[in-house]
Subunit: 116 residues, 2 copies
């Protein structure tokens, strides 16, 4: 079960590791689009766009519906939530860094203030 989840996260993060696919998700956040519409602003062939959509599909990030000859694509935000859940486990680490920075800016002698 844990292994399955880990494999799933591998596929999700890898799918997100491409700016064209992230740009597609950004556009899909506003609503369903056809593969042709998704391909247009990227100046890429329909075949290339379709390949990216397939990668997003495998990661569960989008769902494709075929009506007639047209392929409609819509976002499924659940895998994004899963990836975010993993990252938030580390939030404490970067929050602590910001706190330290604020401390340093408040106290130019670079010593944290223990009097408060």
């Amino acid at each position: 079960m844990v292994e399955q989840l880990e494999t799933r996260l591998d596929v999700i993060f890898r799918a997100l590791g491409d700016h064209t696919r992230r740009a597609m998700l950004e556009r899909l956040a506003s609503g369903e689009q056809t593969v042709t519409e998704l391909a247009a602003p990227c100046r890429m062939s329909l075949a290339a766009a379709s390949k990216h959509v397939q990668t997003l599909e495998r990661a569960g990030l989008v769902k494709r519906t075929v009506r007639g000859r047209i392929h409609y694509v819509r976002i499924d935000p659940r895998p994004l939530a899963r990836a975010d859940h993993w990252l938030r486990g580390y939030q404490k680490l970067w929050d602590t860094r910001i706190e330290r920075l604020v401390q340093l800016l408040r106290h130019p002698d670079n010593e944290p203030d223990h009097t408060k």
Copy 2:
């Protein structure tokens, strides 16, 4: 500038798209470790572990310090914060889904309650 950020995010998400590297980050969250220590629980060669550390280094997720013959690795949470920042842009999408689910569970007739 935007392009640089996009390339950076590509490298970060791809580095996270491997469960061995995520497991390494999980261990590094508790503190600095040597490459040998990182390799041990993964039952992998030092060379294989070093390659994973290199991928994490390229993404800026870890910093390596060499003292004598020993390579120490520590986590840098800033790229994690960057990836999380991107994902949070979509939080509204999954939050809305959860809200809809709660509505459905509250109202077994599957109709949202407009009286409240």
